[in-house]
């Protein structure tokens, strides 16, 4: 049993310390993650060759995460379905363009969904409103539903991940979420938060680096 599971409230107070204690768990997970990544790369190769069974497999592996992200950005399950459909058609046609040097297949697929969803919000001119309402809703939905991280990585790791996110200074987290979920450019974030552009860029960079360092070995 890992250190994390032994924590009384089920949540590591420090992700950094927990990482050291959970090394055995993570090393086993790393192997599984690598296998999963290799499997995804192989599936995309097969999809590029026209393999429908591989396409169905890829759908089963990632559609929940992708749909959840679409719902989070669009805050509209109907539109999220349209986006998911469009993105999977895109994957069917452009699987050969995936470059494993630039990240995981799941990251690539989520980026496609995220970009397509942001495009929709831009097209409908309601981005700002959605950004604000989604942030308000998130607090509620988070209470009601487990996160995708929990579904994918299990509750222990999901808690570590969430803890890492929560430990970010609020201004860094806010800037990152505005960029990622609301699709605002750094210029727009700067305007919205009434902060200098350099400050916004630095916040985003520092926040992501901290998150990356906290999560090294977890994801």
């Amino acid at each position: 049993m890992s250190f994390c599971a032994q924590v009384g409230d089920g949540r590591c107070s420090s992700v950094f310390n927990a990482k050291l204690d959970c090394a055995l768990t993570f090393s086993k997970k790393d192997v599984n993650d690598q296998e999963a990544q290799d499997r995804d790369i192989e599936l995309l190769r097969q999809i590029a060759a026209g393999d429908r069974a591989a396409f169905a497999d890829f759908y089963d592996r990632h559609s929940t995460l992708m749909f959840s992200v679409a719902c989070r950005i669009l805050n509209d399950p109907g539109e999220a379905q349209d986006v998911l459909q469009e993105v999977f058609v895109q994957i069917w046609e452009k699987a050969g363009r995936f470059d494993s040097r630039l990240g995981k297949a799941s990251s690539w697929a989520v980026a496609l969904v995220r970009n397509k969803s942001i495009d929709r919000t831009r097209a409908s001119q309601r981005r700002t409103r959605l950004a604000e309402s989604a942030q308000a809703d998130q607090a509620v939905t988070t209470q009601l539903s487990p996160s995708v991280n929990e579904t994918i990585h299990g509750s222990e790791n999901a808690k570590l991940i969430q803890s890492a996110i929560d430990e970010l200074p609020s201004e860094q987290r806010h800037a990152i979420e505005l960029a990622y979920f609301s699709g605002l450019t750094h210029d727009e974030i700067s305007t919205k938060l009434n902060e200098p552009l350099g400050t916004i860029k630095a916040r985003i960079r520092r926040g992501l680096l901290k998150l990356r360092d906290q999560l090294e070995g977890v994801l």
């Binding site: 749909f67 046609e93 050969g96 990251s107 992501l208 680096l209 990356r212 994801l219």
Partner: protein, 264 residues
Amino acid sequence: MIDERTQEQAALHVLGALSETDAREFNQRLQTDPELQAYVARLSAATDALAGSVPTVEPPPQLRAKILAQVAGRQKIVSPPERKFDFLSWLSWALATGLAVLCILFNVRDTQLRKTIGDQAQQIDNLNQLAQTLQSATNDLQKTVLALQETNRLANLHIAMLNSLLADAPKAIAVSLWDNQRQDGVFVAQNLKGLPPDRDYQLWVIDGQTPVAAGVFHVEQNGAVRMNFKPTQFVKTAGQFAVTEEVKGGVASPTLKNMVLASN
């Protein structure tokens, strides 16, 4: 080592927050910078965490069937995998491109050279035609010159008839054709009296009052002779011609009493 500005751009890139221009520039650099690729890949773990932090929402079960059906109905355009940057491959393409450019340049140069050669061949043909025309004109001129020379030569010829001065050979007769310009001539005689072996006839050209020796000849029984002659010294004006009988080989001054033929 990735500088701070690039780190900022990488962070904005994984969040999809770069402007369109910056994104294009960054993606170009990303394609060729393995260190930046690794950095972006590690940074994307953070966005994975963000994406995973959203509440789980399962897609409707019918959506799967709908998407699979849609894909089944589409003609699959098998796209080749994105080409990774490979120096050897790049080098091959660079060489091939270079060769292609060289071929084009050579082809253009070849075309230019062929055109130049064609032009020069045409010029050579034109020059040959001109040369033939000039040669023909030259030949005509040469013929004209020869004709003029011949006319001039004939004009310079001095023809003299020599008559016999001997009673015992009254039919002896000779003709001398003298070209004063060339300082030579032809002498033809008939019906001369035959001479003993120790005697010769000697031809003289009379320049003013001075006889100039012009050659010796011997006549056999038929009495005929034909010879080309050239005086032993320059003859200014060949006024007369004469033939004397002399000792074998001739003499320096004519023996007047032995004069056989003389012109008027």
